[in-house]
């Protein structure tokens, strides 16, 4: 199955401090391990939501809204697309990530039937 791992932005929509080289190296090591295990299909980081836009649909009307947005806790800052055999496997991998803060959401991707 595929799962989407979403990193939540946290309290402020702009990153407070850039990650230290050590933290980046730790992250790289973890990501390499995932790639070597054949888990990572795709990964990406997003610009802060202050630079994002929304399009709201209301019948025939479309409204474009500029960021930043109030509910920053629900905003995605980065994502991984993983190939795993169960949600539990995804959780076990995720627990090994070298983060000391933040929230990550794990969602299964809807695929063809009978999986």
């Amino acid at each position: 199955m595929r799962v989407l791992i979403m990193a939540k932005e946290g309290e402020q929509s702009a990153p407070a401090t850039p990650p230290t080289p050590e933290a980046m190296a730790e992250y790289q090591k973890f990501n390499d391990e995932l790639v070597k295990a054949g888990v990572v299909l795709e990964a990406g980081r997003l610009y802060p939501s202050s630079q994002s836009k929304r399009v709201r649909f209301d019948g025939k009307k479309r409204t474009v809204i500029d960021g930043p947005f109030a509910e920053t806790k629900e905003l995605v800052a980065g994502y991984w697309l993983w190939q795993v055999r169960s949600i539990d496997e995804a959780l076990e991998w995720l627990k090994r990530a070298p983060y000391d803060g933040g929230t990550f959401e794990v969602r299964q991707v809807l695929e063809y039937e009978g999986m």
């Binding site: 190939q83 539990d88 959780l91």
Partner: protein, 461 residues
């Protein structure tokens, strides 16, 4: 394919229960709320199962290097798993579960080797304490050696050419995929004892042939690697076009093969054919969702809704093909097949397919590894590139080929070409013959439907 790891043959204590996952449930410690306790235990079990899936191959590989054979390594690893299932529900999952499992298994490996040594010593009446301690140190470093090399050693061992094809597949899924015998049996629609037998026989054959745990080099490596790639592609194909049963595709097997291929590509990135195989599997897998119609019937390549092809897998496949070609492997058998698959992947509509290029690529495949099946595929491409009559000429030359005697795609292809030429009566006979030759139910239905269509076209046209 989500059930838990299988139990060790040696762990007779698990036999009395439902399986390894039942142990902790019984041994669960008393606590204030039974409901909460059970929920926590179940969570610990699910976590343990997932950890086993992540760690088992590395665990077995590290142990196999030390003890020398897969059978013992697997038993030691499973003993460690049983210990985890007993302890983790009560004590909590350790912070580094992989290291915990390895540590536990290592202790057992030490014990085992010490016992073996003692036995040897008794027989030979030599006993030197010094040797024993030195062995201990060596063992320690051996287990902590390069995990990648270990994994590679295990892959080469499980796919060793000395083993029968079926045995290689079963052993690979078991020790590298972490699948249980039951799961493998279900995936291949064969009885559980058959798979168990294959695995037992494989381990025995490896021991009897004194196959060493190592990463082969030179000429031996070429043959061994070909065998590894063959096993992975066999697993993929069984998922991609099931040879029997009521499912047209079994994606879980494709995913397992893809995972093994991706791991291998990371382990030996300089081997072009590994990337060629990965490219082929990624591109073929991109069509999995489009290959099955609403009622489970097969939808053939040219009839597929290309909007349903998985662009991510296509992109990954094309990138892997680039890597294979960049390493000078454009003419490898898997890279060539991947290149053919890429022609389809790059065409936005079926009509845009570059058939002359596909014919040229099949020419290259035929030169490299001539076979009647390749000729048949080439004939299809020729039929598309230069007209059905040209294709039919080639197919007709294959009719008496013994290797294709009961191959259902020969009459299926012939029927298709005859239909395009308006020779409906012959086409009907060919499609019916093809239908009688396949054991896959949805595919048989499709071929019978083709026969009916041709019969109808004959009436009206």
């Amino acid at each position: 394919m989500t059930a838990g790891p299988s139990r060790s043959v040696r762990s007779s204590n698990t036999r009395a229960c439902e399986g390894p996952l039942a142990i902790g449930l019984r041994a669960g410690h008393a606590s204030d709320s039974p409901g909460r306790r059970e929920a926590a235990t179940a969570a610990a079990h699910r976590a343990t199962e997932a950890i086993w899936r992540i760690e088992s191959a590395r665990l077995i590989a590290g142990l196999a290097r030390v003890v020398g054979d897969i059978g013992t390594a697997e038993e030691l690893a499973q003993d460690a798993l049983v210990a985890a299932l007993e302890q983790w529900p009560a004590e909590g999952v350790p912070e580094r579960p992989g290291a915990w499992l390895m540590g536990t298994a290592k202790h057992r490996a030490f014990d085992l080797i010490r016992r073996r040594k003692t036995l040897e010593r008794k027989h030979e009446e030599i006993g030197r304490e010094l040797e024993r301690t030195q062995e201990g140190v060596e063992l320690d470093t051996a287990i902590e050696a390069d995990v990648g090399d270990d994994l590679l050693g295990l892959i080469f061992m499980a796919c060793h050419p000395v083993l029968a094809k079926d045995s290689r597949v079963a052993l690979t899924l078991r020790v590298l995929g972490g699948l249980t015998t039951d799961e493998i049996a279900r995936a291949f629609l064969v009885p559980v004892p058959t798979i168990a037998q294959r695995i037992v026989r494989a381990k025995r054959t490896l021991a009897e042939a004194h196959v060493k745990f190592e990463v082969p080099r030179g000429a031996e490596r070429v043959a061994s690697l070909a065998s590894v790639l063959e096993v992975i592609y066999l697993i993929f194909n069984e998922g991609y076009s099931a040879t029997a049963g009521t499912d047209w595709v079994r994606p879980a097997l494709c995913e397992e093969a893809l995972r093994l291929g991706r791991i291998l590509a990371e382990l030996i990135p300089a081997e072009p054919e590994v990337h060629g195989l990965v490219a082929l599997m990624e591109i073929q897998a991109s069509r999995l969702g489009a290959r099955v119609g609403p009622s489970g019937e097969p939808v053939l390549l040219l009839d597929q809704d290309r909007a349903r092809w998985d662009r991510l897998l296509i992109r990954r496949g094309l990138a892997a093909l680039d890597r294979a070609e960049g390493l000078g492997g454009a003419l490898g058998p898997y890279a060539l097949q991947a290149a053919i698959a890429s022609c389809h992947a790059r065409a936005t509509t079926a009509a845009e397919t570059d058939w002359p290029r596909i014919v040229a690529l099949y020419d290259a495949v035929a030169e490299l590894a001539p076979s009647p099946v390749v000729e048949l595929n080439r004939a299809v491409a020729v039929g598309m590139a230069f007209g059905p009559a040209a294709g039919l000429d080639l197919v007709d030359a294959l009719v008496n080929e013994p290797q294709l005697k009961s191959y259902h795609l020969l009459p299926a292809v012939r029927g298709d070409l005859l239909r395009k030429l308006g020779r409906m009566e012959e086409a009907v006979a060919e499609f019916l013959r093809a239908a009688s030759l396949t054991d896959n139910v949805p595919e048989r239905d499709l071929l019978q439907r083709r026969a009916v269509e041709c019969a109808a076209e004959r009436m009206t046209g």
